[in-house]
Amino acid sequence: MQIILNGEAQVVSGPLTVSQLLEQLGLGGRRVAVEVNREIVPRSRHGEHELNHDDRVEVVRAIGGG
């Protein structure tokens, strides 16, 4: 299936949970926040939230800023 990850189309093999996606990206255990189709998926639900075809996924972090 295809998802839009941080604005770019990516082909991933499903079924895939948010946790599994983060693991694949090397972001497992990192401090990030995830939004799917503009709804926040809380960290406690990363393991159960399954992604669907065409989901728009945002993975954000804190960086330097003023």
């Binding site: 770019e8 990192r30 960086i63 800023g65």
Partner: protein, 271 residues
């Protein structure tokens, strides 16, 4: 170090900056952008003595060195109070979305710096959009420190609606032009019911001292430190300027006079 006399110790100790019910000994808040690298960020923040640091919320770089140290590794949230900002937002909706992501990212953290910009050239705030965002964020449980212009009426409005701090600009963000309108900053301070912090426009230590002498409760700055030739040294200078300005404000300056007034007794000379 020379021991402080008890009276002074007491005066210094009782002068905490309280934001949303939490006391801070430092009145300097710093941004973490524009530094050469994370090590310079860490050293400058340390030298500034700041306890509150602003951060931006951005997309993770997918596929790029996920094991690189992050800002949260060098500035541990256990030691610093994070102030996620909504920099780069030009409407209320984006700002609210950014704050909600920040809250998730930082485990329910509620303190945010709201800024909704009006145009890319001046980076002046869009006040109607900022008011709209503040209202929704406050209802949603956020503790909002709001970046605004130096309009005293607008500042009062933000305080009345429940913002925990109002942060007027001294000059455009990143301009380093100093306190362009000290009279307005003073009006805002005089009417204040919540902490007033100058946010943006400070260029060097004397600007920070002026803000504090005007009675501001603190100053938030980024570029003045990050773009100094020696950011760590400037961070230390800013720390002292904030402290000096605050003490001068509390001490109460002498009245200005038009003519000279001798400092030594006029009588008792030998001639």
């Amino acid at each position: 170090m020379e021991a402080m006399i008890p009276a002074m110790q007491q005066a210094v100790a009782s002068d905490a900056l309280v934001i949303a019910g939490k006391p801070y000994t430092s009145r300097l808040l710093v941004g973490t952008g524009k530094y050469k690298d994370l090590e310079q960020t860490r050293l400058a923040v340390e030298a500034s003595g700041a306890q509150i640091v602003t951060v931006a919320i951005r997309r993770t770089n997918i596929g790029q060195h996920p094991n690189e140290p992050s800002l949260l590794d060098v500035l541990p949230p256990s030691r610093y109070t994070y102030l996620p900002n909504t920099a780069g937002c030009f409407n209320a909706e984006d700002a609210i979305r950014t704050c909600r992501l920040a809250r998730e990212l930082l485990d329910g953290h509620e303190l945010v710096k709201l800024e909704v910009l009006g145009d890319e050239k001046t980076l002046y705030p869009d006040i109607p959009q900022t008011l709209q965002a503040a209202e929704i964020l406050i209802k949603d449980g956020f503790k909002v420190m709001v970046y605004t212009n130096d309009d005293p009426i607008v500042a009062k409005r933000f305080a009345e609606m429940g913002c925990v701090a109002v942060m007027p600009l001294a000059a455009p963000i990143g301009s380093g032009l100093g306190i362009r309108n000290p009279y307005n900053i003073r009006f805002i301070v005089e009417e204040a019911t919540v902490p007033i912090l100058v946010d943006a426009g400070v260029g060097t230590a004397s600007d920070a001292a002026v803000a504090m002498e005007l009675g501001c409760d603190g100053v938030l700055m980024n570029t003045a430190i990050a773009l100094a030739k020696n950011p760590v040294l400037m961070a230390s200078a800013m720390k002292k300027a904030i402290e000096a300005g605050r003490e001068a404000y509390r001490a109460g300056r002498m009245p200005r006079k038009q003519y000279g007034s001798p400092s030594s007794p006029v009588g008792g000379t030998v001639f």
